[in-house]
Each structure stands twice: as C-alpha cells, then as structure tokens.
C-alpha cells in the first residue's frame, strides 16, 4: 500500500495553522490583457487554435453574460468579484507540446512534487506486477493554471478506445463529439457563472468512453491555481456511451493569496443507456487566513444527465477549502430506471462560507436518487445545505431518500438546511430527514476517558460522522480525504 503511505506522509507534512501549499511557482506565463471584452475572448480562442464556430459560440455566451445579473439567493456574503480586474487567460510557457513527462518544464514537475502529486503516480500505485498495474493506475491530465501541459497514460487509454484529453484538444480533434454534447446539460445561459465560463473557459478535461467499455483506470485531474489574479475557468465534459463505466477524480490545492481568486468551472456529465459515471472531488483550495482575508471564490456548475435508460451518475465530494463555495452537483434523471447519487462532506472553519447541495430532477419512470450530505461547521463559518428533489408528472414510481446531517463545533458558527421537495407524481415517494447537533459530551468523555486527546477525539468522532460518504470515495482519495478533514478542523476546539 505504497499509495496510502505516500498520501499519509504528504498530509502529515501539512502544518496545523499553515497552508503549506501557499507558494508561488516561478514560471513565466503568457497573459491575456487584464479584464474582459470581445478582444480577450478572441485572444483566448486564437491561443487555443480554436475553429471559427467555437469563437462564435464563446462570443454569443459573452453577449448573453453581459445581460445577466449575479445570483444573490445563496446564503453567502462576500464582496462581488470585479470582473474587469481579472486575467482571463494565463498559460505557462512550454515549448511545443511535450510528448512525455521528460519534456515537461522541470519547474512544473517540481511544483507537483511539492504538492505531493507526482505525475508518475503509476510508479507509486503499480504494486508488483504488470497485470495489477492495469487496475491501480491513475491517469493524470494535469492542469497547471489553465493549460494542460502533460497527459499521461494516453497510449493505454487509446488501446481501450477511451478519449481523455484537454477540452481544447477535443475541440480541435473531436469537434463532432464536442458540438453534440457541449452545453447539452448546462445550457450556455444556464446561470451567471456558467455563462461566464462558456465565454472564457480556457481548459479542462474531456472524456469519452465508447460503447461497452469499462475504463481501465481511474481518470484524474489535479487542479492548481497559480499566477496572481488569474481566474480559473475549467470546462469538463464526460460522456459515457452505452454500457460503459468511468470513474473520474478531481482534486485541487491552490497557493496562498491575499486577493480573492475567482473560480467558475462547469462540469457536464452525460450517461447514455446502461452507462455509469462516478465523479469524485476533493477540494482543498485556500480558504483565506485566520481573519477571513483572501481565499478562493468557488462558483461551480456541475450537472449530470442520465440521458437514457438504466444510466447512473454518482457525485461524491469532500469540500474543505475555498472562502466561498457555491456548488450544486446535480442529476437529471431523464432515462427510465436511471439512478442519481450525491454524497457530500462539507467542512467549514475560520470565516468560510459554503452554500452547497444538489438537485435531483426525476423525469423518467422508476428513477431513484439518494442524497447523503454531512456538513460540519466550526470557527466563524456558515455552512448551508441547499437541495432540490423534484418529480415530474411522468416520473412514476420515483424514489428519493435524503439525509443531511450537520455538526456544529463552537457557538460562533452556523449550520443551515434548505431543502426543496417538489412532487407532481402521486406514485413518487420522497423521504427527507435532517438533523443538527453538536458532538455530545458523552462521546467526548468516552474518548477522553480512554486517553485520547481532545483534538484527536473530535477528529475521531467527526470521521465517524462522515463515514458514510468517505466509503464512497475511491481508495486513492479516501485516506487523503480523511486526513484533510482532521486538518481542516484543527484549532476548532479548546
């Protein structure tokens, strides 16, 4: 279990109060002019060597965005980002596209080494024999600022017929797939941030798993925001064709900054007949300092579409970072018998504010969904679960079970639950339950009587509280997530 040890070691390196990932890598970068206008969009599109139709698509999105207003309904309080003081494009200067890791800028590799995310994950995870490697490998499409600079495992995925590349590459190489599926789940004008993303997205991942293929490895992207004042606008598109399966891992850290950094990603998942997509996220962006200064603004639109029958989409997320989180990974259960799942741990400490949840929209017959949300608030943070479960008239026999539990640590924080349950189908059965409580004195006493220190006891109890969700994470993430939870809560008791 080299991987586990590796992860544990990495996480151990993180100090109590310090966000060690807060360093800046000195790589020369190429920037678009400050601010946003049609010329900047043309610049981005040209930089990406995009075809004309893509530029038009972006410009159309930009024009729509100009007419939209920022949403204010979330329980979040923050200074509005100044959209004209952001660089919308910043690319690390790399020589012609590297064909292997050896060609990647050594500075960049060093950065990843510092982050504890070696690109050569295969060596860590390989185990002993070549045969085992097939199942334990993790392919990394590394995103450094906004451009994919290295893609590993391409060859092997190619053998399976899986397309895993940056979205820019997909636009050039697979325009038919992109045209067919891009914005088919999150329409261009879906919401303020999704529209902004449509206009200016600079990179992200594209996955296509062909009919009947079980993707031979977990696909993974490590995000890293670098370069001062650069918004990160990722666009991820994952298509699982009939009868296929793919598991996708997303994890992120960001350097320490004083200024707020805006992140507005869009993730679209499409599962066709009998296909299954599992999407896991561990998010640990810079949450701001002890006074709540700085930190990442995270406005994400994530939505999956179970487009045909028997499809399944599962979201799992561990949210520990960001100053502001606005994120609702959702499932549209269009196909009959399709299934949606949402497992979430959201931890807020310091002055963090989280408004997150999910939407399960039941349209097809016999659709089912399950929501397990665990929110933990500490410090002076506010943590809101906001979710929608709805059944359309034709969604006969729809089923939903929702459980959202909140744990409060300290009397300066807030935990809120705002579920919307809408049923237009008599045969739909929806169950929702929510609880809010603190760690009981009995639990603490039990642990402490056995010689467990206060902080450790809290960590132990919290880990028990979130167990249901941790179990859903792929092995590569589970250990890291568990450690992350402990770190996030450090300093919250006593």
């Amino acid at each position: 279990m080299a991987a586990v040890k590796e992860t544990v070691d990495q996480v151990k390196q993180i100090d109590v109060d310090q966000y060690k990932y807060g360093f800046v890598t000195d790589i020369e970068s190429e920037k678009a002019p400050l601010g946003l206008n049609e010329d900047v969009i043309r610049f981005i599109s040209a930089k990406k060597h995009e075809p004309e139709w893509m530029l038009e698509w972006r410009l159309d999105a930009y024009r729509r965005w100009l007419t939209m207003e920022e949403p204010t309904w979330a329980k979040l309080d923050y200074p509005k980002p100044k959209f004209n003081e952001i660089y919308y494009y910043s690319a690390p200067k790399v020589a012609e596209g590297p064909k292997s890791l050896d060609e990647v800028d050594p500075e960049l590799l060093k950065t990843y080494a510092k982050l504890g995310i070696p690109l050569q994950e295969q060596e860590i995870l390989a185990g002993v024999t070549e045969e085992n490697r097939q199942y334990s490998k993790v392919a990394v499409d590394a995103v450094f600022d906004s451009v994919s600079v290295a893609t590993t495992f391409k060859e092997e995925l190619k053998k399976a017929g899986v397309i895993f590349c940056s979205i820019s590459e997909a636009i050039r190489e697979h325009p038919e797939l992109v045209k067919k599926y891009l914005a088919s789940v999150v329409p261009v004008s879906d919401n303020f941030y999704a529209t902004l993303n449509s206009a200016v997205f600079t990179d992200g991942s594209f996955v296509y798993v062909p009919e009947g293929v079980r993707c031979p490895m977990e696909l993974s992207t490590y995000f890293r925001i670098n370069e001062q004042n650069t918004g990160q606008f990722e666009r991820t598109l994952i298509i699982a064709d009939k009868g296929s399966y793919v598991s996708y891992l997303e994890g992120c850290t960001a350097p320490q900054r004083d200024e707020n950094q805006l992140h507005a990603a869009v993730v679209e998942l499409i599962a066709l007949e009998d296909a299954e997509i599992k999407y896991s996220t561990v998010q640990n962006w810079y949450p701001g300092d002890s006074e709540g200064k700085g930190g990442i603004y995270n406005f994400v639109t994530k939505r999956g579409d179970c487009r045909e029958k028997n499809a399944k989409i599962s979201w799992t997320q561990v949210e520990t970072g960001s100053a502001i989180t606005w994120k609702y990974p959702s499932c549209i259960l269009r196909g009959d018998n399709s299934t949606g799942e949402f497992y979430s741990i959201a931890i807020s400490n310091g002055y963090q504010q989280i408004d997150s949840g999910t939407k399960m929209i039941h349209l097809g017959k016999n659709t089912s969904s399950r929501i397990i949300s665990k929110g933990i608030s500490a410090g002076r943070s506010n943590n809101t679960y906001r979710g929608l479960v709805s059944a359309h008239k034709k969604a006969a026999n729809a089923r939903n079970f929702t459980q959202c539990d909140s744990l409060l640590i300290g009397d300066q924080c807030g935990a809120h639950t705002v579920p919307y349950v809408e049923s237009k189908s008599a045969s739909a059965i929806f169950e929702h339950e929510a609880t809010t409580s603190k760690i009981s004195d009995d639990q603490m006493f039990y642990c402490q009587a056995r010689g467990i220190g206060e902080e450790e006891a809290v960590a132990l109890i919290v880990n028990g509280f979130v167990k249901d969700v941790i179990q859903q994470l792929p092995m590569e993430f589970a250990v890291e997530a568990q450690k992350l939870i402990n770190i996030s809560l450090e300093g919250s008791v006593g």
Binding site: W73, K393, S406, L408, I409, G410, D411, Q412, C413, G414, A415, H416, T417, V418, P419, Y420, V421, E422, S423, K424, S425, A426, S427, A428, I429, F430, E431, H432, E433, A434, T435, T436, S437, K438
Partner: protein, 435 residues
Amino acid sequence: MTTPAIKTAADKALASLIESAKGALPGNESFASLRSAAASAFEENGLPTRRVEEWKYSDLKKAMPADLALAQPVDSALAKQQLSGADIIKAVETCRLVLVNGIYSAELSDLADLGDAISVRSVAEALQAGEFQLDDPAIAQGDIALSLNTALLQDGVIVEIAAGAEIDKPLEIRHIMIGGGMATVRNRVVIGKGSKVGVIETFTGDEAAYQLNTAIDYRVADDAKLNVLRIINEGDNGLHLGSTTATVGGHVHFEHFTLSASGKFVRSQSFVAMLGEYSDADLFGASLVNGSRHSDITLKMDHAVPNCNSKEQYRTVLDDKAVGVFQGQIIVRQYAQKTDAKMMSQALLLSEDASFNNKPELEIYADDVVCGHGATCGELDEDLLFYLRARGISKDLAKKMLVMAFLAEAIENVSDDRFVEALEAYILDRLGLAD
C-alpha cells in the same frame, strides 16, 4: 401606481383600492402614517411573484382577482341567518366573538359566559383612540401579507385575559364573509401571566368571490398555557391570507393547530418568537386539499433564548388537481443553547394531478442544540388498502379510512380533548364518514 412593480391588473386594482379606501379606514394620525408607509411599500413591490422566495410556491399575483372592492356591511338579519350555518364546531361549546366582513359585531357575539377575567374591545375603536400599537416580532417584519394588512386594516378584536385566569369555555373568534369583497382584520389576544385559555378561530364564507386578509397576534405572558385551534373553512371562491404572530414568554405551553379545509387559495402563515426560557411551542396542522384548490402552510419558528422546545407536525392530503405547499423554518439564534426543535411535514397524494411542495428549513447558529426535520410525500400504501379490501371494505371507504388515519396522527397530538373531538367530527363529516 406608476412604479414598475405595479404590473398586473390585480396590482393596479389593489393599489387603487388602498388609495381610495384611505379616508374611510379608522385610525388616528400616527396610524395613518403607518398605513401610508405600508401603501408605499406595496407601490414599490406590488404583489409577490414567484421570484420572491417566501412566495415561491404560491403565486399571489395570479391568485388575486382584478376586480377588487371592500366588502359591504351586512344587514344583521342576513348575518344572523348565515351565522347559524357557520357553526362548524358543534361539538364544543364556546363564548363567541363574531366578525362579519371584517367588522366586529357585538350584537352577534355571544359573551354571556365571558366572566370578568376577559375583556373585549374593537380594534377600530382602539385605532381611533390611538391605543393600538403594531408590534410584530422581528421574524414577521417585512412580511407582505402583514404589510397589506396594515395598509387596509378595518377592524378586529382585542381580547385581554387577566393574569391567573383559568377559562373553561374556549373563546371562539368567528370570521364570516358574506356577499364578496375584500376584508382586512387584525385581532390581538393578550394572555395574562399564569392564565389558561383555549382559543378557536374559525373562518367561513359564502359562495361569492372574496378576499380575507386576517391576522392575529398572540402575546403570551410567563407561565401561561394557550391552546389554539384554527379552522379555515372558507367558501369555494374565497381567498384567505392568514397570519398568526405569537410572542411567547417563559415557562409557557403554547399549542397551535391549523386545519386548512377549504377555500380557493389559502395561505396560512405563522411567526412564532420564543422570547422566554423553558417554554414549549407545539405547532400542528392538517390540510385537506381537493379540486383545483391551493393550500399553503408557512411557518417561522424563532428560538431567541435558551432552553426551549418546539415541535411542528403537519399532514397534507391532496386530491384532484390540488396544490399543497409547506414551508417551515426553524431559526435557532446564537444564544438559544439547549434548544430542542423538531419539524415534520408529510403529504399524501391521492391523484396523479395533485402536487406538493415541501420546504422545511433549519437555520442554526447555536451549537448545543438538537434540531431536525423530516419531510415525506407519497401515495396510499397498496398493502394497507389491500388489507382493508380483503376484509370486504369497498375501495372508496378503505381510502377514506386510511386518509382519516393519516390525519389522525397529527390530530392526536392535540392535548385538549374537546379540540380533538371537534377536529375528528369535522374531518369525518368532510370525508363523508360521519354516521
């Protein structure tokens, strides 16, 4: 009337009604300024659209008709005749206060057994004398229905119950609408320290199209025990905007049951502020919604002090093309440690065309609390139906029995047996099960 919020015919009609009624409504100068502030608030916002979060599921803009006029005074012979038909809680003997078309009628009221411990006064009279202050709890402030109520307030009753009084006969406040039109009522019930009382609010009306904006404000002093039963039995074309505000002192037991049984569009909202320690508030309700009716139960429970318990339990049965709404919010403020708050909303859908929207909310700022909510919706259990039918009970009757059983679970929480009896009698009658 020129502001952009005044868009629809209903907005315009209401704005001009507010304008034209101004002179005729009671109140001294200082109340007039409150009225005009409420009127300008309306001018600014108009009727709420579905974009206003609190009104997301109840489109008042659409429900409010475009031809609005104040309800006309009713001749007392006609009122008396209607009054006998408006007796919907025959099972319980009460002292009765009657408001016809929003105006308090001492003549029609039955106060024979009132005794010395209760005093009654008309709101219009108190307004004229400058002796009626509006003082809504913080959570109710800014509410659109209450603001409209202030703008158009006509009358109501102020009931004061002396400290330590134990009132045997429940007090009934009966609202009757006759001949259509709009009426605006605000009642106040002041419960003295350590007193025990039951209050029944009933709402009935004829077939004419009418709009009743009614509010009641309960001021419950320390150590008191208050049981409230509220039966909304409006006419088929009646629009009911009902608001309950309650400020609850320490060591109080406050119990409130709402039965939403008829009316074309019903919104029954409650704002309860727990302001004294060691008090219990239990809010229960049952809604029977059929046809193309709309029934909305909205409540906000504000725990501002430590050591209080609250329990909310609501059941809704929907048939035909009915729409049901439940919005419940529990707020636990930072200092309200040791709060125990539980909320449950359950709905039964009997028809494919019925729909239900459920929004239970928790907003919690204190850590040492136990709070939870649950929400379910679904159809009748086939197994239960089969069980009954296998015993020779017709499908129709079996369904009704199961509906009754479903609602009974909310009713059995009520501690006053007389209220339980009245509720059961009403629902059995409504379901056609009364013998």
